[in-house]
């Protein structure tokens, strides 16, 4: 892109180098280098992590709104007994689409999307690792999600629940293509999640600013790192499950067909081996948000950093041991069940450690009750309730009692919304000024919070009671006079309040884009690196890469300089300004290690994602799509990796052997 100024063959020393701060010619060159190319084609070819992340966050939020609209429809149907608003067929699609949207198209990807934006800023680097792969993962996700909604609009939406149990989802009980579209959507989104996990792990291990040793990285980054590792080991399970399901349906394999030696419980094992960790894939980033927000608004470093990191890791390990607690109603050996009950209760310990550390931080801090902190406090309240019902469900006898009742629906929303959506909204308010350069309105923010908090409890608390009174989940209507009428009406009113609150958020976000107060680099007085650069950050994130001396660089920089005999380095210099060059550091102690060249933007990730989409959708109808569809994929991927001569000559001019 910007090679014109340096003919190939120039000695490295003569190239334009970074180092000087904003306003310098070097800074201008950096901005030009790291910008996305202009025009429509440039828009499609963009690979800057902030561009991709903005799209990714907006896309996942749209899915959240869509999933919420479906939920509202369900609640309106259930508001009174014998309602005729939607029939059983549509209702089945509604809860399946709602659950699948929230779990696969919103909760996990939104966390990864936020991470794609923040990680390089928090770590002090100019890009996420593998920027093209990152763009590819986004496109795949988009196409998979859109496909699901297109078929839903065509009345071919899946209708077998978000966990698609066989044999219900198998060829005999679910003819047609509904379940196939569900299974393929899983493959799309999991593919995207796994690629993002690789991107996150590589970024965290190799691209940290000098001095940011492993025990100095922000806790949100730790949370995303642990989450990424969980993705690597959890997602293959659901991929295997959905692929074998579609094979059973399309080419006549017999994995889930008991008549030919298959087994339906196999599905449950494969699904929940993923599905339980999935809850923690949503929960751990939420914890990371809290650990970012709390110290800032308590105005002190987090209490018990090491304990926090260890309990994140412990939670991840335990999460894998728990899947069977979703299957207590299945005929399994009793001893096994006791083991899983114990494990389910054990996982409360690391969570308790985290909660203790946050409370200690809050306790000893000077609290500043801004909107992000309100959402954090809402989290505490809701999670305590959700955790309690969780411990109740982890005991086998009680689980059998309330199995498949609204008690479970209540519990899962307390955990998911309390554990993930509240922190996420806090995070939106917290980082909005960084992304847009303007603050959101505090007044609207408070309304947003209180309506959400009240609406949430009004909507979901009655569901506990409904469950205990025997109302089963996944029913499209019920008879009057069972004692369920009032509670259902109350719950629906609560959902409407939530909808108003979500609307207020959108209004606030859109309005503040223009009218919000200018934020400046560090509006909250926070300590982590993303606040060290302008808001919104320049295309290259940092004109001069910072050198880190502590856990909260913005709070500790002066002290570090006073302690050292020699004034410490404050920033890095010597990276090329006119081509995408990055500093890689060593894994443990973040010593400068390499200069790496990143590729320029290109259209090929998009084309590759389109080719993959053709294959996946085609293979719903014929297995030959897998054969013929792989040819365009191979071509697109080859074009993607094919070196550009101009680009290579620039790289060669900077090359230095190890």
């Amino acid at each position: 892109m910007q090679h014109a100024m340096n003919p190939p063959g120039h000695a490295p020393a003569s190239r334009l180098k970074d180092g000087p701060g904003p306003g310098s010619p070097e800074a201008a060159a950096l901005d030009a280098t790291w910008s996305d190319p202009p025009g429509l084609l440039g828009w499609l070819a963009a690979v800057n992590h902030k561009t991709i992340a903005r799209r990714f966050v907006i896309t996942t939020f749209c899915f959240f709104v869509a999933g919420g609209a479906l939920a509202l429809l369900m609640r309106l149907q259930l508001a009174r007994p014998g309602s005729k608003l939607v029939g059983p067929d549509l209702y089945n699609q509604l809860f399946t689409m709602h659950g699948s949207t929230m779990m696969f198209l919103f909760a996990v990807p939104v966390m990864q999307a936020v991470a794609v934006y923040l990680l390089p800023l928090m770590l002090g680097t100019r890009s996420i690792a593998f920027p093209r792969l990152n763009a590819f993962a986004y496109w795949i996700f988009l196409f998979g999600g859109v496909m699901l909604y297109v078929v839903f609009a065509l009345d071919a939406g899946p209708d077998v629940g978000w966990f698609s149990y066989v044999p219900l989802a198998g060829p005999d009980y679910s003819p047609g293509k509904r379940a196939d579209f569900w299974a393929q959507m899983i493959t799309f989104t999991e593919l995207s999640a796994m690629l993002e996990a690789i991107v996150v792990i590589t970024t965290v291990f190799k691209l940290r600013a000098p001095g940011m040793t492993l025990n100095r990285i922000p806790l949100f980054v730790w949370a995303m790192l642990v989450t990424a590792f969980m993705v690597l080991f959890a997602m293959p399970s659901v991929m295997l499950a959905s692929t074998t399901l579609i094979m059973d349906r399309l080419v006549g394999t017999h994995f889930y067909n008991p008549a030919e030696g298959g087994d339906v419980v196999l599905w449950q094992h494969l699904f929940w081996f993923f599905g339980h960790p999935e809850v923690y894939l949503i929960f751990l980033p939420g914890l990371g948000f809290l650990s970012a927000i709390i110290p800032t608004f308590a105005r002190r470093p987090i209490y018990g950093y090491t304990a926090m990191v260890l309990s994140l890791i412990a939670t991840a390990f335990l999460a894998f041991g728990l899947w069977v607690h979703h299957m207590f109603a299945v005929n399994l050996p009793e001893l096994g069940k006791s083991f899983f009950t114990a494990a389910s209760m054990l996982i409360a310990i690391p969570s308790a450690v985290q909660i203790f550390c946050w409370l200690a931080t809050l306790w000893s801090g000077k609290l500043d009750f801004k909107t992000p902190l309100l959402f954090v406090l809402g989290f505490f309240f809701i999670l305590v309730l959700g955790g309690m019902t969780g411990i109740m469900l982890a005991s086998v006898p009680l689980d059998l009692q309330v199995h498949d009742s609204y008690f479970v629906v209540a519990h899962l929303h307390y955990v998911l919304i309390g554990g993930a959506v509240f922190p996420l909204f806090g995070a939106f308010y917290y980082w909005y000024p960084k992304v847009t350069g303007r603050l959101m309105s505090e007044r609207l923010g408070r309304w947003n919070f209180w309506l959400f908090f009240i609406g949430f409890n009004v909507a979901f608390f009655p569901m506990h009671l409904l469950g205990l009174k025997g109302m089963p989940r996944r029913v499209y209507t019920y008879q009057a006079g069972l004692g369920w009428d009032t509670l259902n009406l109350v719950s629906t009113i609560g959902s409407l309040i939530i909808a108003v609150s979500a609307l207020l958020f959108v209004v606030n976000a859109v309005r503040s884009l223009r009218r919000g107060a200018p934020a400046g680099a560090d509006p909250w007085g926070a300590g982590t690196l993303e606040w060290a650069t302008e808001s919104p950050p320049p295309p290259c994130n940092f004109h001069a890469i910072p050198v880190v001396h502590g856990r909260d660089p913005l709070w500790e920089a002066p002290r570090a300089r006073a302690e050292d005999e020699q004034p410490a380095f404050t920033h890095v210099s010597g990276l090329a300004a006119d081509t995408r060059e990055l500093l890689a550091t060593t894994v443990l102690d973040a010593r400068p290690d390499l200069r790496v060249n990143f590729p320029d933007p290109t259209i090929w990730p998009l084309v590759s994602a389109l080719a993959v989409t053709v294959l996946f959708i085609g293979s719903i109808f014929t297995p030959w799509a897998v054969v013929w569809g792989s040819i365009p994929i191979a071509i697109a991927l080859t074009a993607w990796f094919w070196p550009d001569r101009a680009e290579t000559s620039v790289h060669l001019s900077l090359e230095r052997k190890p």
């Binding site: 017999h254 494969l270 010597g574």
Partner: protein, 199 residues
């Protein structure tokens, strides 16, 4: 304010093993695929535990082609290691040569693989046994196909240029991934050919 800069312009522009980003990317891929293989093997054993007779309605697969293939795979470690060493010494001529030899091994393997499918004595749609055996073998074959294609593209790049140091890193990581394909085959081989012969 005094600003002291840490000058990094003298650092190398590529490196091997875990110092390179590619290594971490490959590592992630291996973790994912390894988990997938482990789960597929788990599925095989699970289905076996739920069934009275195993293999279902078929004799165990013939040993000949599978074993021949295992030998080819194990032998292919040799050209791959040579290619890896040559790449890490940045020796273009030898890297090219050994990459091609490795590619030849992969192609021989893929041809033998066709015979292997034919000697399973069961089809994917015969019963659950057939389904999982075909899936295991199929999964491994897909990895071979993609890695073979990958190696071929890399080979073309080594001959057509432009040649930069990063290419050597790619060759080194390609060899690492090949080892994964080789070593993941051993448990799959043991399961497909060994388990049906257990009493």
């Amino acid at each position: 304010m005094t600003r002291r800069a840490l000058d990094v312009s003298g650092l190398p522009s590529y490196a091997f093993s875990h110092r390179s980003l590619m290594w971490w990317g490959t590592f992630g891929l291996i973790a994912i695929e390894g988990t997938l293989f482990a789960l597929a093997i788990g599925t095989y054993l699970y289905l076996r535990s739920q069934s009275d007779a195993w293999p279902i309605g078929a004799p165990p697969p013939d040993l000949l082609w599978g074993t021949a293939n295992t030998l080819v795979l194990l032998l292919s470690i040799w050209p791959n290691q040579k290619a890896k060493w040559a790449a890490e010494a940045c020796d273009l001529v030898r890297t090219r040569r050994w990459l091609l030899v490795g590619l030849a091994f992969a192609l021989i393997f893929l041809v033998l693989r066709c015979f292997e499918f034919a000697s399973l004595h069961t089809r994917w749609d015969s019963n659950a046994y057939g389904s999982i055996v075909w899936t295991l073998l199929g999964l491994h074959t897909v990895h071979l196909l993609t890695d073979t294609y990958d190696t071929a593209v890399l080979g073309v790049l080594l001959f057509t240029g432009p040649m930069e140091g990063q290419r050597f890193v790619d060759v080194s990581e390609n060899a690492l991934y090949w080892y994964f394909v080789v070593f993941s085959w051993l448990p799959i081989y043991a399961v497909i050919y060994g388990v049906p012969r257990l009493q």
